[in-house]
């Protein structure tokens, strides 16, 4: 590791998850914010930067900070879909490095299950060339990518199902996971088709939920009770908005964001002990593993075969049960950071990856549109 210790994740927390009728997005974020301060050993007055992403207000930061009674000196509402929160971590490190603030609160909240929104049919702009064809978004876009990958490389539905099955095994070890009953590859293949080649069990959950993360300067982090989880590397990118404009349906901008994160951290792929990789759909994981360089293009199917990413496998991945089985409230990225931090702190009991020192967190947003990679490590 050559990376400087500039900033660390010093607090993580979830709000209520799953079904949370009667709670709105502000309540969920307030709940997570209170818990994350307790976890970090900080108070509300320590927060001097606010980060959130959502489409529940025209300017979410204004509404959230007002609700929480925070007047920040730095504010960032970058919204690039589900990978926004990994981008927030990168931006927080940059701000801390520049001396602009010391403690950043990152939150997210969604009532995607209890109050689903239908915002995709408003203000079409460049989407007007796609909306008339009725592709269900986002699943249809991921299906188009999966079909292309199968054509180009011979990837199979069985190989995609390996990911769903392995992830469910992790969920069985996490009492906060929404779906914990074991499934088989046949169960995935026999679940109803949503958009070919993707089946229902290739798709993430639709739940409510919120989360919070605190990023602090090394100065603050070194004075707290819990051991800091250092942010060693970060990279972000986006390659398109709508799926038609994805340059190559088999590769994401993880190629760029991952490369930069690894270079900044000064580590190699084989040094990663645990990976938390956005799993909106099984194909998302497969493309990401290839694009990050854990295997070569086209080898993702073989890479995940034989339950390699399951508990006991040699590539522990999505150890909380992922978006596929633990929770997925619209934009899932913040939960990847929460789980990676807990793994590096050794707080994961039954699902703990033994002696985990280095974690890779990778968010994917939109329709394989944006990617943001964070590499975390403990002392």
């Amino acid at each position: 590791m050559k990376s400087d210790r500039i900033a660390a994740i010093v607090g993580v927390a979830e709000s209520d998850l799953g079904k949370t009728p009667g709670k709105n997005v502000l309540q969920l974020q307030a709940q997570a914010a209170k818990l994350v301060l307790e976890d970090a050993g900080l108070t509300k007055d320590d927060i001097d930067a606010v980060f959130t992403a959502g489409n529940w207000a025209w300017a979410p930061n204004l509404m959230l900070a007002e609700y929480l009674g925070i007047q920040p000196k730095y504010t960032d509402s970058t919204n690039i879909g589900g990978s926004s929160f990994e981008a927030h971590v990168g931006h927080a490190v940059a701000g801390i490095q520049a001396g602009l603030f010391e403690v950043a609160l990152i939150t997210y909240g969604s009532t995607n299950r209890s109050s689903p929104s239908n915002s995709s049919y408003k203000s079409a702009l460049t989407a007007q060339y796609e909306l008339p064809y009725g592709l269900p978004t986002p699943v249809g876009a991921y299906a188009l990518a999966a079909m292309r990958h199968m054509h180009q490389y011979g990837t199979t539905s069985e190989q995609l199902a390996e990911i769903a099955v392995a992830t469910r095994k992790w969920a069985a070890l996490n009492e906060r996971a929404y779906m914990r009953e074991e499934i088989s590859i046949e169960d995935v293949l026999n679940s109803r088709k949503v958009a070919e080649p993707l089946h229902l069990l290739d798709c993430c959950l639709v739940t409510d939920g919120g989360g919070a993360v605190i990023v602090a300067s090394s100065n603050v982090a070194s004075k707290l009770n819990k051991k800091p989880v250092w942010i060693l590397g970060h990279g972000e990118s986006h390659s398109h908005n709508t799926i038609v404009n994805m340059p190559d349906f088999t590769a994401t901008s993880a190629r760029e964001s991952g490369k930069r994160a690894f270079e900044m951290a000064g580590i190699r792929h084989h040094e990663i002990d645990v990976a938390e990789i956005y799993d909106s759909f099984t194909i998302t994981v497969l493309l990401t593993l290839e694009s990050l360089g854990f295997c070569k293009p086209g080898e993702g199917g073989a890479f995940v075969s034989g339950q390699r990413t399951a508990p006991g496998g040699d590539f522990p991945m999505n150890t909380n049960g992922g978006g596929l089985s633990y929770c997925h409230p619209g934009m899932y990225g913040i939960f990847l950071l929460i789980e990676a931090t807990r793994q590096l702190r050794g707080e994961c009991s039954a699902r703990q990856v033994e002696n985990a020192k280095l974690a890779l967190v990778h968010g994917t947003g939109g329709v394989l549109s944006s990617t943001s990679t964070v590499i975390l490590g403990r002392d």
Partner: protein, 133 residues
Amino acid sequence: MLKDLIHSSIDDESKPYWDGLKEEKLLIQYCDDCQQHIFYPRTICPHCFSEKIKWQESCGTGKIYSYTVVHQAFGPFKSEAPFVVGIIELDEGVRMMSRILADKDQIAIDQRVSVIFSKVEDEVVLPYFQVIE
């Protein structure tokens, strides 16, 4: 519903495209400076930032880059499922989304296709694609 969706989206930038479809012409764009085709319509070239962009009628043929059979659709499309949405790579090199009207066993990636203009509602013509040899 579909008509409202499209009509509320049309602006000065996109109007020539939608007007072209009513005359059974699939209009794409061409940059006079870098000599590359462009789709969707823009007022600046995404390849070289030139504003010397002109409309051009596409030859209307191409191949399937990818496709999916949609079993679960939403909103105005819910009752139409199953249907096939494809990504078509036109012979000019640009890609567009469309419906593919063919039996499932005729549909494959790289299969040649040609445009057919389909009047789906009053005043709404969409460029769908059919399989050709």
